[in-house]
Symmetry: C2
Subunit: 323 residues, 2 copies
């Protein structure tokens, strides 16, 4: 490995001069600087990250933590983060699994964006207490080193529910996410509120898991007790796909017998037959905003909690009933 010491030797200067030259410090002459840079290139010099980090106590790397790489990989969200971070001189790495949590306290990251139930609130608060900067996308958590950038789940779920009610539906199912999911719980709370406001109607909740299989299972149960048009709010699109699949080969049709709304507006929802009504938001913007707030937090520039706005996308998966 070639270090600044080698460069110094070859250029006939001291290591401090080399360091200055490499970092563009104006203290060193244009002349020597140019010579040093040339030698550095000649020797294929690359600075050692560990040494720089040890000295400067920063890595210029941000970690995004996901529960798993599978399923919805949050492609656009991550892309949004990456672009924003790169613009601001940071690199992004994606991490998953409890093993990788060590990277935060060990100082390999200047900050982290959390979308990962494998982190407990306590653990995050501990890291924050040690001075690590965090942005959480999947929970509410109060600490001066933590900022929240959250989806407006409440608005989304309210839009969806009221849409179903507006279409005349009197029988409503909510298919939830897994136990303890922040998104699921927030959405569910909004549904309950909207249902309560609406007054007399049949309402039931079915526990799901945010995956296709649990959507299909929910559909099966709904079919079994079918006694007229039912509205089904799947708390994410993935489960709505499961509902569609479960109806294949049965006499029941989406938009006719089961009226389905999803959440997330994932790519294929536009291509589903009938087209899936869902709740839309910009993943990219979400990621970019999270990144922006994290950088501000690190720079101590007064980062603030943010909310990502959502909108309803209507579709033929929901038909009118009643009158």
């Amino acid at each position: 490995m070639v270090s600044i010491k080698d460069i110094a030797k070859h250029a006939g200067v001291s290591i401090s001069t080399v360091s200055y030259a490499l970092n563009g410090n104006p203290k060193v002459t244009e002349e020597t600087s140019k010579r040093i840079l040339a030698v550095a290139k000649e020797l294929n010099y690359v600075p050692n990250a560990a040494a720089r980090t040890l000295k400067k106590r920063e890595t210029k790397i941000i970690g995004a933590f996901l529960t798993t790489f599978e399923g919805a990989f949050y492609g656009e969200l991550l892309q949004g983060m990456k672009e924003e971070l790169n613009k601001r001189g940071y690199d992004l790495v994606i991490c998953s699994g409890t093993q990788s949590h060590r990277m935060l306290p060990e100082g390999m990251l200047d900050g982290a964006i959390i979308l990962d139930r494998l982190f407990s609130d306590e653990e995050l608060l501990l890291h924050a207490a040690r001075g690590h900067k965090l942005v959480v996308l999947d929970r509410e958590l109060s600490h001066k080193n933590i900022v929240q950038v959250l989806l407006d789940n409440k608005a989304g779920a309210t839009f969806a529910t009221e849409y179903l009610l507006r279409q005349g539906h009197k029988k409503l199912y909510a298919v939830t996410g897994p136990e303890g999911s922040f998104d699921s719980e927030q959405r569910l709370a909004a549904v309950r509120q909207a249902v309560q406001r609406a007054g007399s109607l049949q309402y039931a909740e079915i526990r799901g898991n945010f995956d296709k299989a649990s959507g299909a299972a929910a559909a099966k149960r709904i079919i079994e007790e079918y006694d007229g048009p039912a509205a089904v709010f799947c708390l994410n699109d993935e489960m709505a796909i499961g509902v569609y699949n479960a109806l294949e080969g049965t006499p029941y049709r989406v938009g006719e017998h089961l009226h389905v709304v999803g959440f997330d507006h994932i790519d294929i929802s536009d291509y589903m037959q009938p087209r899936l009504a869902t709740v839309d938001y910009s993943e990219r913007r979400w990621g970019a905003l999270a990144a922006e707030q994290l950088v501000k937090l690190i720079a101590c520039e007064g980062a603030e909690h943010e909310r990502i706005y959502v909108s309803l996308v209507e579709g033929e998966s929901v038909g009118r009933v009643g009158e």
Copy 2:
């Protein structure tokens, strides 16, 4: 930040004793060791990664480089890598974009798995020449510090093409991936070979981009010049979805007018109507094998090039013609 120096002070021993104790070196008494560990826990000690790396010249972190985070295609692949690496004491981080390439030469990674056309062959060879260990999943590259773990594209494309021919098809389209894609080129070569072997039949290639839009564009063109059943081998499933979409609202049907085969066996291919014929392989196994080889390479245990086997999944997207 609390360092071993602090622990030493609190425990009334020297820093080397602390270091030994923390690393489980048997040179230190059970007694003192226990006391030191207790103090460490008490003080919430966490080792500093930069310092450890600077000294040991290893990070125990592997980087996987992707061209982009978008498209949910690599979830299982990454999961396979992660699980295998974790088992072997390594952590995995996912990186994307040329900016992040620096992590490799700067020594933040003990090795890298490459699936990223943003890396040129020259750049990879340069890193390898510097002693960095690489596994490439998207090209053939010869160097003692590089091992290849490649999909058996040739077998897959041959299976797909021969399947179409077996079903009596005489008119064949291949919809390709982007210019310079290794997978696309390998698959295409195999198609050409199979076509040539088959003798007299109509064959045309349409340049695609591995995304839905280019699949749809290809379908439009095929429809325009339609003059009887046509077989369409989309070199990945994503483009096959595009073909399906493009046919919506036209009188043409998949499995009847256009006979489609894809490649990758992505999740939704099983749910498409009609079910998509495609080429299957285990992403998870691919990732695990890549990880395994990389670790071997790092440990200088004679890693070897590997091949991931594939198989054909038949589907109603292809019907019989002729006789």
